[in-house]
Amino acid sequence: MTIQETTQGVAGPRVIAGRPALLTDRSTHYCPGCGHGVVHRLIAELLGDLGLGERTIAVAPVGCAVFAYDYIDVDWIEAPHGRAPAVATGIRRVRPDAFVLMYQGDGDLAAIGTAEIIHAAARGERITGIFVNNGIYGMTGGQMAPTTLLGDRTTSTPTGRDPRTSGYPLLITEMLALLPGVAYAARGTLADAGSIGKLRAMLRRAMDVQLQDAGFAIVEVLANCPVGWGMTPQESIDHLQVVAETYPIGVMVDRLKAAGA
């Protein structure tokens, strides 16, 4: 029996996996094993499933994911570092029919852009935010992020993050979940296939929240950065279990559910 016979069968070829229509066919600039690609794929799948490709205006961050516009085939604007929530707010208000998506990393959202994310959330802007937390500044060479775990060595915490000099990890999604303008806040992880499935459901919910005009929605994704962490791709994926001890996985607030939707 040839391989062809096995896969083709009598009913012809059956596609069991493929590239989502909104994911462009080009080689990635991300490092081997990087988590961004998985998140990009989930977003492209969901925007396609929901028929949002022609309505979406997305906002790109400064950081490794600035090139998200090379991979997810919708309209994009590149925001200054940390300002994506303000840029997205401007789009949201003048384009009520658009689907507004923003993609930010931890340095972008939880350090330089803290004011912008908190106030966009406080205003309850109808925006869906994707917050990729890999605990490091990847693009600039692996410096400490506000989300870096205590004790972790980075190029700017060469002896490990010491809370006396470098402060504590920032659980900003929990902070945002306190705000009444936030309709949905959740944290997922790329640790394994099952978790990625759950993350997909969270992202879907965060998109539904905007489509139902319920408020601000954010999904934090615990992602791996093998190069920045000095690990192999597999080691970095395994390490996400340790990261989740500081950043618990789950839904923090779902006001759609609370409202019976």
Binding site: R55, A86, V87, T89, V94, A98, E116, H119
Partner: protein, 364 residues
């Protein structure tokens, strides 16, 4: 059939900040973003009341950084957008101004200048000339800057500024000062709504077309240099087409003042006083600070015995005057700061001093 007699346009008493705000509304401003700061707060307050009445967008942002980035997002969709602030707030907007210039997003920014540096004062000043005219933020770019000298002129320049912004896809600044923002003057509000330019670059959702990206990152050296050359070519077009200035009593002038904004108001009085005293003085008033009216100023410099630059600063525009004049005639400076405004008497004294020096030079 009743025949209506056309009525003369009504003169109304308007505060500068409110006149600029209403001129923007009448020019078709779709969205305004701001943050409270003296002496421009009335502009924000006017927008807070009027924009929602008209079903348009008003947001009081969390900071000037928030406001200008909201403006960038809204304008990137093709909307007509205005932001206003005063000096310290303009400093916070420097980053986004660079990004908007680079990614060619048209936004109108109004700067009602106050005393500086630092927290300075809330009095009128012209100390933001370097900051605004020379480019605010990082990188190789220029920003068209229009400087009204009266409230009526501010009303005219608002639609012009939107037009320049949209025609050339660039941020544009209206640079005024605390006197113009706070003073009330009788004006005939000559509002104008510029026609819309089709924004075939804007991000609107890629319905029926290929997706677009509004960006400023070009990592490949060749690509960034090409983009910079594209911007510079655009700036040369603006320099050729958008120079604005006006003169008073220049035809027979032996000496002239160069001043913009409120300083030019003082200078108008001063040249009349000087003429009453026998000194044939004129006024050269730049309206576009970038592009600077270097050519006409150089021509004037060739036929007067000296130029006196008057500013509400320690001397900023004077550098552009000297560059334009290229030594053709002596250039002197008189300025006050901190919210102090020079009096016409002071300016006449400075003119006479310059006259005496240049006459002595020529007699030698």
């Amino acid at each position: 059939m009743a025949i209506e007699t056309p009525r003369a346009p009504e003169r109304v008493l308007m505060k500068g900040n409110e006149a600029i705000a209403e001129a923007a509304i009448q020019a078709g401003c779709d969205a305004y973003f701001g943050y409270p700061i003296t002496p421009q707060a009335e502009l924000l307050e006017w927008m807070a009341r009027r924009m929602p009445e008209l079903g348009r967008v008003f947001i009081q942002a969390e900071s000037e950084i928030g406001a200008i980035n909201m403006a960038m997002g809204a304008a990137a969709t093709g909307a007509r957008v205005m932001v206003s602030s005063s000096s310290p707030g303009i400093s916070l907007m420097a980053e986004a101004m660079s990004y908007m210039a680079a990614s060619e997003v048209p936004v109108l920014l109004v700067d009602i200048m106050r005393g500086g540096p630092g927290l300075g004062s809330i009095g009128p000043a012209q100390g933001d000339y370097f900051q605004v005219v020379k480019g605010h933020g990082h990188g190789d770019y220029r920003t068209p800057v229009l400087a009204p000298s009266s409230i009526a002129e501010a009303i005219q320049l608002v639609p012009d500024a939107f037009e320049i912004a949209e025609r050339y896809r660039t941020p544009v600044v209206i640079l005024a000062d605390g006197v113009l923002g706070q003073a009330m003057e009788p004006v005939v509000p000559a509002y104008r709504t510029p026609p819309r330019v089709k924004a075939d670059w804007a991000v609107t959702g890629a319905a029926g077309r290929r997706p677009r990206v509004v960006r400023s990152l070009h990592l490949a050296p060749e690509a960034l240099e090409a983009q910079n050359q594209h911007l510079q070519a655009k700036y040369r077009t603006i320099q050729a087409a958008e120079v604005r200035w006006t003169g008073e009593m220049l035809e027979d002038a032996e000496i002239a003042i160069v001043a913009y904004g409120t300083a030019a108001r003082v200078a108008r009085t001063a040249i009349r006083q000087a003429r009453a005293g026998g000194l044939r003085a004129g006024l050269f008033r730049p309206i576009s600070l970038w592009p600077f009216p270097s050519g006409p100023l150089a021509e004037l410099a060739g036929r007067v015995r000296g130029l006196l630059v008057v500013e509400l600063s320690t001397g900023q525009m004077v550098e552009d005057v000297r560059l334009a004049v290229e030594g053709r005639t002596p250039v002197a400076f008189h300025g006050r700061t901190g919210g102090m405004v020079p009096t016409p008497d002071e300016v006449v004294t400075a003119l006479r001093r310059l006259w005496a020096v240049t006459t002595a030079l020529e007699d030698r």
